[in-house]
Symmetry: C2
Subunit: 328 residues, 2 copies
C-alpha cells in the first residue's frame, strides 16, 4: 500500500510537493487542505479532493504524513505543533534564528501524540545543513562557506515591491565569481558580505514614478540591500512576464580544511545545486523526508526530528540490501 | 573521557587515521597494531605504543573503536568479522561487488558480540555513496554520474609497476572536461567509459628497456587501460620523487533530474572533492564515523552498518541542541 500523503497549503511549495508525489510510485496524494474556499482551489492531480482546514482538525482523511506548506513567519509556528498532535508532519521552517524554539514546540506535541515531526526540511535549511555537518565532522576546524544563487530571492523581491511606485519586482542573488573561485582553490579567504554576493533587481515602475528615488530606496534599504552592491534595471510588465516568470535558485556549500602533521594538505568539499524551480526542488526534498517520517513512526519512534537526525537509507524507496548492492 | 581508538595496519591509511585523531579533541589514540615487528614500526603520536596482532586478539588494550586499515582484497574480508567479534570496528572496504557478502559477515559477527561494525567508509564508497542516495531519493528517475580525479589511482599505478622493465609508476585518472561540463549543464548525456575519463601514466623504466613495448602493454592492458585514452610519459626516478610524491585525488558525484507537470524543470546536484591527500581524507572520514560507531553502541545498538544507516548528527561532536542552533 502506498504511503498516504496530505498537503496543507497550496501555494508554490504545495504545488511543488504535488508534482514530487507523482514521481514517487510508493506515495499517494490523499488530499489538499487549504484555508481558502476549497471549491475555488483547482489542483493538478485527478481524483484528489481539496478540503478545508476543518477536515484536517477533524481527521476526516486518513493519512500517513501531512506536509505543511505554509510560511515560516506566522503559519508554521502555529501549524507545526497543532498538527504534530494529530499526524506525522514535515515542514520547511526556514527562519534559522527560531529553529530551536520551533523544534521544541513540535517535539513536545509529537512526543505526546506518538507521532514524528520533521522540521526545517528543504535545501537551506535541509540539504545544505546536511553538507555543513558532514564536512565539519570530517575536517574539524575547517572553514565553511555558503553561497546562494544565482536565483530569485522571494523575500528581497517582496521588499522591493513594497516601495512606493513599484508595480512588480524580481530580485536575483548572485555569488561573486572571484570569491567562489578563491574558496574552491582552497585559499580559505575571509569574505565580507559585500564580497560574497551581489544583488540584481528588475523593476516594473508605475507610469511617471521617480525612477532615481526608487533606485536609491532599493540600494539603501537596511538589511536587505545596504551591505551589497546592487544593480537596478527598470523593465516593462511584458519583459517581466517574458523573462522573469521562473523561480530558479541554487547555491553552494563549500568547506575547506587541512590535514597532515604540519597542516600541509588542503581539502575542499563542495555541494552545489542548480535548480530551475526552487519550490519544486524543495517539494521533492520534503517528499523524500516524508517517506522517512512514515517509516520512523512505523518503527515506533516519535518526537521532533531534523534532517540531521535521519539516516539517509530512510529516504530511499530501496531496501538496505538494494542500497548496499547498487548505491554504495 | 575521550573515545579510545585503535588502529590496525600502519600503511598510508593508518597514518591518515592517526593524523585525523589528533584533530578531534574528543578522541584518543590508544594503540597501533601491526603484523610487522612492533619494534620496527615508528609512529608519530608521542606516548602511544605499537603492538602485535596478538595484543588485539587477546584484548590487551581497552578501546572503544578499532579502525581497520588493511586492504580490501585479502585483509578486510578476514579482519572485519574476526574483530567485530571483539570490538566496535570500522573499515574502508571498497570492492563494490563484494560489499553485500562482507556486510553479511561483519553483521553476523557484530550482532553476536553486541558490537557495531561499520563497513565501506571513506569517500567512494562513503561520502560519494551518501550523495548518490540523497540525490536519487530527492529526484527519482534522474541520471547519476560519478567522475574520479584528477588523482592518483593506486590500483592502476600498481598494475603498471608489474610490467616487465618498469621500476616505478604513477597513474592519474582525469575526468574529461567536456563530459563534466555537459553533465553540469543538465544535459544528462549518455557517456561511454572512454568519454568520461582519460588516464595519464608517469613511468620510470629500467635502463635499456623497450619503451615502445612498455607503452603498448600499458595502453592495451585489459580492464585497466584498454577502454581509455591513455598517455604515457617516461621520466627519471628523480622526477618521480620530485613531482609525483603526493597522493592527491578527488572527484564528483553529479545527478540531474527533472520536475514539473511536463518535466520542464531540470535540477543538477553536484558533490565534489578536491583532496591533497587521499589517505588523510579517507582517514578523516573513518574517524568521524568511528565517533558514530561508539555512540550507536553506547545506545545499545549492534550489528553491521554502512554510512547510509547512520544519521549525520552521530558524526558531529556537537549536541543536537548545538547542531540545531548553529548548523541547520
Amino acid at each position: 500500500m502506498a504511503i498516504r500523503v496530505g498537503i496543507f497549503g497550496y501555494g508554490n511549495l504545495g504545488r511543488g510537493v504535488e508534482q514530487a508525489i507523482r514521481r514517487n510510485p510508493d506515495m499517494e496524494l490523499v488530499g489538499v487542505f487549504s484555508r481558502r474556499d476549497p471549491a475555488k482551489v483547482k489542483i493538478k492531480t485527478p481524483g484528489v479532493s481539496v478540503y478545508s482546514e476543518d477536515a484536517l482538525v477533524n481527521q476526516e482523511v486518513p493519512m500517513d504524513v501531512l506536509i505543511l506548506c505554509g510560511g515560516s513567519a506566522t503559519d508554521l509556528p502555529v501549524q507545526g505543533p497543532k498538527y504534530a498532535a494529530l499526524y506525522n508532519i514535515i515542514d520547511s521552517f526556514d527562519t534559522h534564528a527560531h529553529i530551536p524554539e520551533h523544534f521544541a514546540d513540535v517535539d513536545a506535541a509529537a512526543k505526546k501524540a506518538g507521532k514524528i515531526g520533521i522540521i526545517s526540511c528543504g535545501w537551506d535549511p535541509g540539504m545544505f545543513s546536511l553538507n555543513r555537518v558532514y564536512a565539519s565532522a570530517v575536517l574539524p576546524g575547517g572553514t565553511p562557506y555558503t553561497f546562494w544563487g544565482k536565483g530569485v530571492s522571494q523575500g528581497h523581491s517582496d521588499a522591493v515591491r513594497r516601495i512606493d511606485g513599484v508595480l512588480d519586482a524580481r530580485q536575483y542573488t548572485i555569488p561573486v565569481p572571484a570569491a567562489l573561485e578563491a574558496v574552491r582553490a582552497g585559499k580559505a579567504p575571509e569574505l565580507t558580505t559585500r564580497e560574497k554576493h551581489t544583488r540584481e533587481c528588475f523593476v516594473v515602475a508605475a507610469e511617471g514614478a521617480d525612477l532615481a528615488r526608487i533606485e536609491n530606496e532599493i540600494k539603501t534599504m537596511p538589511n536587505y540591500f545596504d551591505e551589497y552592491d546592487t544593480t537596478v534595471h527598470f523593465i516593462s510588465a511584458e519583459e517581466m512576464a517574458r523573462d522573469h516568470a521562473g523561480l530558479p535558485h541554487g547555491g553552494s556549500v563549500l568547506y575547506s580544511g587541512v590535514t597532515g602533521a604540519d597542516s600541509e594538505n588542503t581539502h575542499v568539499i563542495e555541494y552545489s545545486l542548480k535548480l530551475d524551480s526552487n519550490p519544486e526542488f524543495t517539494g521533492s526534498v520534503l517528499v523524500a523526508f516524508a517517506r522517512a517520517a512514515y517509516r520512523l513512526n512505523k518503527e515506533g519512534q516519535c518526537g521532533g526530528r531534523t534532517v540531521l537526525d535521519i539516516a539517509p537509507a530512510y529516504l530511499s524507496p530501496m531496501s538496505g540490501e538494494e542500497l548496499r548492492a547498487h548505491m554504495l
